[in-house]
């Protein structure tokens, strides 16, 4: 049993890691590679989650031609009782739906990226940052107020496309999420090595010069935001499918602050850094979560506040003492001007 718990601990950890890795790769592409400070990540993640959730049950009914006059959102659970048995019986059908839902998630993310950045992409960095942040949580207002989307505050459940795995559902789900994350990592890692990626990094390093060399800055920034948002959308959809339900409660802390913290930790600009940062952070966070009961008695305050204090202080510490994170950007041997003390060793 203890062993079972260890495995579970690691599996949960892996699930969170995969989700955040996808989001963080998207953020790193925007901030680390292109220099777009996206403080509105949560919008794309929520977009992926909500829109996928909203369409999933409807699509499932349609594709599996389940005949019911119940509303797929309002009588969600009852409808899913018709859908899920079918999915449980056929892994391949489920996986097909999964693929479809991920596409929808990505598209939704892209849509959100477009909406939030269209008015802002030409703005100066700082304006952009503030505007994107302000936009971040608007979807929660809609999700809460407009029931047909995801059924308002109670949220809605999604077809259980991992149901076929029976009691191993969460192991399989985690494995699949992990695979998706790996594929995306490889993809992004290749993308930034192409001439396209090179231009993105050039724009980040010196926008004016890039323009003087005939690069269409706006287009490149836009495509970077789009790719990033697609990744966030996929992550949102995946997490919704994994947990089986969504509520309009995706907030700035979980889906904007934490990703920033993770890429900071790993080293902004490097995808390997992003992986390391995500892994280290998620592990730390899970361990804090796990051990908090152990040292709760020694705390003068309720242990749940510990997360906030530790995460906040950790970030500040990194920013002040190791701004370049654990892994430095690969293409450079010394940080860009001017180097922090004791850092200037070439090669």
């Amino acid at each position: 049993m203890a062993l079972g718990q260890v495995i579970l601990f690691i599996v949960d950890l892996l699930a969170l890691f995969s989700i955040y890795l996808i989001i963080n790769l998207g953020l790193n592409l925007q901030q680390g590679i292109t220099g777009i400070p996206n403080f509105g990540l949560v919008l794309a993640v929520a977009g992926g989650a909500y829109i996928t959730a909203s369409l999933s049950t409807r699509l499932a009914i349609y594709l599996l031609n389940v005949h019911t006059n119940l509303d797929p959102i309002i009588n969600n659970v009852s409808v899913l009782q018709l859908v899920n048995p079918i999915l449980r019986s056929s892994p391949w059908l489920s996986t097909g739906l999964l693929a479809l839902f991920l596409i929808i998630g990505g598209a939704s993310g892209a849509l959100m990226g477009l909406i939030s950045s269209a008015p802002a992409v030409r703005l100066r960095e700082d304006y952009l940052a503030i505007t994107l942040l302000a936009f971040g949580e608007i979807l929660n207002v809609v999700g809460t107020g407009y029931d047909p989307l995801i059924g308002g505050p109670p949220g809605t459940s999604l077809p259980d496309i991992f149901g076929w795995a029976g009691q191993y559902r969460f192991y399989w789900a985690t494995l699949i999420m992990f695979l998706v994350a790996v594929i995306i990592f490889v993809y992004i890692e290749r993308l930034v090595r192409t001439p396209f990626g090179r231009v993105l990094r050039a724009i980040r390093d010196n926008e004016n010069t890039a323009r003087s060399l005939g690069k269409d800055i706006t287009r490149y920034r836009m495509s970077s935001i789009l790719i990033g948002s697609i990744l966030c959308g996929i992550a949102g959809a995946l997490w919704a499918l994994y947990s089986g339900a969504v509520t309009p409660s995706y907030d700035r802390f979980d889906y904007t602050f934490l990703p920033w913290l993770m890429i900071l930790l790993g080293g902004i600009g490097s995808n390997i850094g992003t992986v390391v940062g995500t892994l280290v952070f998620v592990t730390l966070d899970e361990l804090i979560d796990y051990f908090k009961y152990a040292f709760a008695p020694f705390l003068p305050f309720n242990v749940v506040w510990l997360n906030y204090l530790l995460l906040g202080l950790l970030t500040i510490f990194i920013l002040i003492y190791r701004p370049e994170g654990i892994v430095r950007e690969k293409w450079t041997s010394v940080p860009a001007a001017p180097p922090p003390a004791g850092e200037a060793k070439p090669g």
Binding site: L123, Y127, L133, N302, N307, T315, I316
Partner: protein, 310 residues
């Protein structure tokens, strides 16, 4: 809704609440813009700074039971102090290492998270030590009324005007202000002509913190406050600040009042003529206004007006 006749909900009370709400919002936005102008940083910590103001004032009420307005000056001082802590404790070390603007913003975000945790601990403490509600604070019951209007209206408008006037004279008629403006326009040049830029920044962080503290301290006189309130209001503060235009300090006031107007008056008119459901989307109003502004006047109202004057 069949009838064509427009219902006009814009009564004196509506105006009063618009002005009250806008004044509080403007105080917060004023801080955001000031910090942006001096440090080039969008201060995410403003959320919890505002809430801290509320809790400082409330703690005073809880411990000494004075008139709820007594805590306001203390809130100004203490939250101003928090601003200094954020500046000297976090931002200044980073600036010395030439961290980028974005990194500074992340730092303020992190500081906000820490402060949020601390506020919750404080709330728990108040609840357990003094047996008072600490997560749904509302003090308007003990507010005074004057000319049949709630005291908070006069206080909020008064304090905002006072702050603006003081700030105006400070910036325009004192050597300190001139130094401050110099370091806003061109910090390296200011440095060169012997202005202690760091000190100037510190002052602006104290002032902005203080403003946040005061607005926060007045908040419980108007609405229910819990440790999340500041976070909920952050988007509005930023919108007000951008709508007003980050390049001009008083843009914040402009933005605050415009936002408040569209929010309170505009939504009222729509809700009572088009349909009650619109009232629900009130929280989205600031963003709509923001969008409109960015498209019509990318540099904000102030910038827009400034260009007109030329």
């Amino acid at each position: 809704m069949g009838c064509v006749r427009l219902v006009n909900p814009v009564t004196l009370p509506t105006i009063i609440s618009w002005l009250t709400y806008s004044s509080l919002l403007s105080m917060m936005a004023l801080g955001v813009t000031l910090l942006y102008r001096t440090t080039k940083v969008a201060n995410f910590a403003h959320a919890s700074l505002v809430t801290s103001g509320a809790y400082v004032a409330y703690s005073v009420v809880v411990v000494l039971h004075p008139n709820p307005y007594v805590g306001v000056p203390l809130a100004f001082a203490l939250v101003g102090g928090l601003g200094l802590l954020l500046f000297y404790g976090v931002l200044e070390p980073m600036r010395r290492r030439h961290s980028s603007t974005v990194m500074l913003m992340i730092a303020t975000l992190a500081f906000d998270i820490v402060l949020f945790g601390v506020l919750n601990i404080l709330a728990d403490y108040l609840a357990s030590a003094y047996f008072v509600p600490s997560r749904n604070i509302l003090l308007s019951a003990s507010d005074f009324t004057f000319l049949g209007q709630p005291g908070i209206f006069f206080v909020a408008v008064g304090v905002l005007s006072l702050c603006s006037v003081v700030l105006y004279f400070l910036l325009n008629f004192t050597t300190l202000g001139i130094a401050l403006r110099a370091s806003m326009e061109n910090s390296s040049l200011a440095q060169a002509i012997g202005v202690n830029v760091t000190l100037m920044l510190a002052i602006s962080w104290f002032a902005a913190g203080g403003l946040a503290g005061v607005s926060g301290a007045l908040l419980p006189m108007w609405t229910l406050v819990n440790p999340n309130t500041g976070t909920v209001l952050l988007a509005s503060m930023f919108c007000a600040s951008i709508v007003g235009g980050l390049d001009e300090i008083y843009g914040a006031v402009l933005g605050g009042f415009l936002l408040g107007f569209v929010d309170v008056v505009g939504t009222s008119v729509l809700a009572s003529n088009v349909g009650a459901w619109i009232a629900f989307y009130e929280p989205a109003v600031p963003l709509v206004v923001l969008c409109a502004t960015l498209i019509l006047a990318p540099r904000g109202l102030a910038g827009f007006l400034a260009r007109r004057r030329k």
